[in-house]
């Protein structure tokens, strides 16, 4: 399915993009994603100083040597934003690189040459993911837009934008004057030219932090209304993404109904969490024992080489094996207070977690929520 190929392309290119992002955005990214790695106290996520590299080296995790070759640390936020289309980086100080040692392992050792970097798709999705606050940026070239003027050097400006996009509210003040500057110049220059119905946009060099928005033919060129229009389009873009996120909302037209559905969904998810947590509380004393048992059983399974079970959700692509590295410094850097856990090798825990997902996704009835393997079935 083309979507799978796209996914793979996206995976590879997003990893390579993260490569660049970590270079440009080290200064911005303050807290490590992985709270486990940054156990030194930045669990609150507000530590400004813990860069990924430093933390990793401090931890003395054995995978570091591999990791240091490979600088990309896809941040969880970026992953979420790329997958859902939402930019989580609005809180600029919160975004931080984190370590996915196994992920880095994969990319380091095996970069399948048969993957074509789908640059256009990447840049499109990355653009969708960036949502700088203060500037007038039309960051989401709609798929139907005929104009894709961001062609060459896509990734560089995109990632710069994304890093700058996290500038936060302090950019708000600059919004108005820049808007007028841009849109005024544009509308003046282009009004005489016959245009398509879709508004065209062009990304300037990275040093300019805004996107010129042209006035549509026959529409007001007032900078305020242009800004309004851009904002409205951004909002509707987000609504569309939310629509994809909430199951069963494909046919809904209308903002209010859509918001209703979102409210319902959020409430039901929260109720589920509450219910599950109560169940967890009742079952709690037995959990550890069972996990121990199951984990030890799994060790045997692993030895027999049924590792192919892992990571194969419905519709997932062919997995890439790679020689695992062991991480004696636990991936979980949280001090392990529980005497039951330390004997467990970390690799087993990772495998177990993947198995959990297998079971969780395939075994449970999904209450019609479609939480099935992938968050959204990509068909």
């Amino acid at each position: 399915m083309t979507s799978e190929n796209d996914d793979m392309g996206l995976a590879m290119s997003s990893i390579s993009m993260f490569n660049k992002s970590s270079n440009t955005s080290d200064s911005f990214f303050s807290s490590c994603w992985d709270p486990i790695v940054s156990q030194s106290g930045s669990l609150g996520g507000s530590s400004m100083a813990s860069h990924y590299h430093l933390v990793m080296e401090n931890q003395g995790i054995s995978g570091t040597s591999h990791v240091s070759h490979y600088q990309s640390d896809p941040s969880f936020v970026e992953l979420v934003s790329k997958l859902t289309g939402f930019d989580g980086g609005n809180l600029s100080q919160m975004v931080g690189p984190f370590s996915l040692p196994q992920c880095n392992q994969v990319a380091n050792r095996r970069c399948p040459p048969n993957f074509t970097l789908d640059e256009h798709r990447i840049s499109k999705e990355a653009l969708v993911g960036t949502s700088p606050n203060g500037k007038i940026r039309k960051c989401a070239p709609e798929s139907g837009s005929p104009l894709r003027s961001c062609k060459n050097g896509d990734e560089e400006p995109v990632m710069d934008l994304s890093s700058e996009g996290c500038d936060g509210p302090r950019e708000q003040a600059r919004k108005k004057p820049e808007t007028e500057q841009n849109t005024g110049a544009n509308s003046r220059g282009k009004q005489a030219v016959k245009q398509d119905k879709d508004s065209s946009q062009s990304e300037e060099a990275p040093k300019e932090n805004y996107i010129h928005v042209r006035a549509r033919r026959g529409q007001a060129t007032n900078s305020h209304s242009l800004a309004e229009r851009v904002r409205r389009e951004k909002i509707s873009e987000r609504m569309r993404l939310l629509q994809e996120l909430v199951p069963g909302c494909n046919k809904i037209t209308g903002k209010a109904v859509m918001l209703d559905e979102i409210i319902n969904y959020v409430q039901s998810l929260q109720q589920q969490v509450e219910f599950l947590s109560m169940k967890l509380a009742t079952v709690n004393p037995e959990i550890n024992l069972d996990l121990d048992r199951i984990l030890s059983k799994d060790i045997l399974h692993q030895r027999s080489g049924s590792a192919a079970v892992l990571g194969l959700g419905p519709g997932s692509n062919s997995p890439y094996g790679f020689s695992p590295s062991t991480f004696p410094g636990t991936i979980s850097g949280i001090p392990n207070k529980n005497p039951q856990f330390p004997p467990l090798p970390q690799t087993v825990l990772e495998n177990e977690l993947l198995n959990l997902f297998q079971m969780g996704f395939s075994g449970s009835t999904m209450d019609g929520f479609g939480l099935n393997g992938q968050l959204k079935p990509e068909m």
Partner: protein
């Protein structure tokens, strides 16, 4: 150390899921174990059960906040949890960060149109719709942790945060369900 061949899917979505699950459980399971220990002796005492429930809920929420750093809501959630812990150390009632149980079941459903604008104004439905939307957005602000903060006043940001919040809630539900299924 025995070498194990581990197989990982390359999909970013699965990577996200598994990394979330790992972080989440790495935090949660040891914490739960700590909770479980003092209660290993059968306690039929309802007060203690409520305490355990409350603590479990706290840990569940904290695990979510820590596993999904980088969002405004996760930051707000963590902050709120820590604040609640400091304030409510002795209280035994089960408390979640959704401290607004009062209105949770009352959904703002706007059946009747606004009564003021009854003229045949084509804009009327527009304004009604806008008002409805605003109402719902306000409600959503109450649902999402940190929704009352100034950052969420911006609709764009609110919708973004909602997207990530919904995704992470789904992840959390899946992880919790999986853990429970193991038993």
């Amino acid at each position: 150390m025995k070498e194990q061949r581990r197989v990982y899917p390359m999909e970013p979505r699965t990577i996200m899921q598994t990394s979330f699950a790992k972080t989440y459980l790495n935090y949660l399971l040891p914490e739960l174990a700590n909770i479980g220990k003092p209660a290993s002796s059968l306690s039929v005492d309802r007060y203690v059960d409520k305490e355990i429930e409350k603590t479990v809920r706290y840990e569940v929420d904290m695990a979510l906040a820590l596993s999904a750093q980088g969002f405004a809501w996760s930051h707000a959630l963590e902050h709120k949890l820590r604040l609640n812990v400091n304030n409510n150390n002795q209280v035994g009632k089960s408390q979640s960060y959704l401290s607004h149980d009062g209105y949770r079941n009352t959904m703002p459903v706007n059946h009747e149109p606004a009564t003021e604008k009854l003229e045949g104004n084509p804009k009327r439905s527009g304004t009604e719709a806008a008002a409805e939307e605003e109402e719902r957005l306000t409600y959503l602000r109450k649902l999402i942790p940190g929704g009352s903060g100034e950052m969420m006043l911006d609709d764009e940001i609110l919708l973004s945060e909602l997207g990530s919040y919904v995704s992470c809630l789904e992840l959390q539900v899946n992880v919790l369900r999986s853990v429970l299924q193991l038993n």
